[in-house]
Symmetry: C2
Subunit: 336 residues, 2 copies
Amino acid sequence: MTDIRYDVLGVGNAIVDVLASVDDAFIEKHELAKDAMLLIDEQRAEALYAAFPPGQEISGGSAANTLAGVASLGGRGAYIGKVAADQLGEVFAHDLRAAGVHYDTAPLKHGPATARCLIAVPPDARRAMNTFLGASTLMTEADIQEDLVKAATVIFLEGYLFDRDEAKAAFRRAAKLAKQHGRAVALTLSDVFCVERHRDSFRDLVKNHIDVLFANEAEIKSLYETEDFDAALKQARAEVKVAAVTRSEKGAVIVSGDQEARVPAEKVEKVVDTTGAGDLFAAGFLTGYSRGADLESCGRMGVIAAGEIISHMGARPHARLHELIETAGLRVPPAA
Amino acid sequence: MTDIRYDVLGVGNAIVDVLASVDDAFIEKHELAKDAMLLIDEQRAEALYAAFPPGQEISGGSAANTLAGVASLGGRGAYIGKVAADQLGEVFAHDLRAAGVHYDTAPLKHGPATARCLIAVPPDARRAMNTFLGASTLMTEADIQEDLVKAATVIFLEGYLFDRDEAKAAFRRAAKLAKQHGRAVALTLSDVFCVERHRDSFRDLVKNHIDVLFANEAEIKSLYETEDFDAALKQARAEVKVAAVTRSEKGAVIVSGDQEARVPAEKVEKVVDTTGAGDLFAAGFLTGYSRGADLESCGRMGVIAAGEIISHMGARPHARLHELIETAGLRVPPAA
């Protein structure tokens, strides 16, 4: 595998987050959903933004957050995702590159603006995400560069890509190229509503194309249409090489064949904003996994990275994650 | 004064801040100046942004920060400043309006982009600001709406406006209209480099047109070209109705005729980012002043607002400032 230049290549919706603190009355009045991502059209995005309190703009996007985390952990990352040729697109590209992630997807010239996610953060930190997909869904198969797929140990795909047909085609091409070049394919189910929207496609995809599956408890139960967590876990174990399931304050369970690791959650002094918790768990896990760390170490890196991200606003790391990992007595194995 | 609709009308450079945490080596390598604002051209802005770590975008601009503070304190505020008709301009307008500030300056259609300030925040929190003025300096006299000036108790001008001739003309018109309608005129000297660039103009302006002067210790010493703080204070006392001078951790000194108030600084658990400390001191002070509070109460509101802003990244308040004021046993007097 001498042509490997990246540990993880992420493919996802390139989005700039607009974060604002709100009270519960705001969540109720605007019918937002805590712990969830709702898709909104341009009209709704404008109306909601007009009602939004003063905010801060921070680059986001689920898989992009994961890759920023991989880089912060000392991993080598690349990303494919579509922004528009506008100011927020420049901000997105700047932040990802400045984080140390390779990013050169061509920006969209004539079309919708860079995607925005309006994130309302209530006092209990359980954010309500509202995404206007804009340019992000106009990623096409042509944007999936074969040389990048070939150069990465793991290709990481976000379930949100399934929300539009064009991006879905790009998604399928990425998975196909990965198989072709013998690369591992990881998928996050993204969101319980996302699973509900695409359950059949996901079931097929997971069974036939995915090596590493990320989900939280609600998502994996929804995928397998069961209320029994252990039953869902058992089914995932039978279908994928590795399933890493997060359970909020109960930590994470990782299963792989007859192996299983249970990792407690990090203690966080004050949970400020849960945006990005799953993304950063995947960052920690995949950084370890792509370098051949054992399941438990991968899981511990995941919960440490997730613990950092929920301690502040926004889904991109503030701390140098590799330092947190080292303080915890862990290390990312050297690249082969 | 039945036609008063606003306590404070701010006029300033409309800017979106890009904040990023850096180390001292970054400050040194890029020759940035802590505690100061440097003007940079588009080329330098691009080069510096390319070198910048991942950041967050938050609406800023000195007088706009002050007005956001006035609104958070329960005061009635309006603002005049120029953005471009672009994404960051929309963000700026949204945030100010969402903060409760009246803002309807027409955005610039064909010309430079919305102004950006690249703010590097080192571990000691003494931020280095680097401003590309863009559209903000293309505010003209026509943007100074007479009805807004007439409707406000105090017109608050930032010294930074003096950095370009077009904006300076707008500045002079605002001061002239204020006099005409019997409104008070307040000025902040903004920055010690700004004072050095415009000392003669400022001296003339302060002496002949300013009622309330805001400065920090370095700025007022530079204005009067003396190393003796008391001498500078004495001269200000002779020239303006009120001078409110901030001295970082030593608090503030306010002089007015034969009155004087000294207010200790707020205790802040951890100073994270000093951006906006002066702006928010002015917010607290002016909210009290425009409602007829005594000098000491005005000063105390100022240090409380400044204390909140330096406890987090960015120069717009996170907390509801009127609640902090009330907790401290203060109140904003009712509008007349």
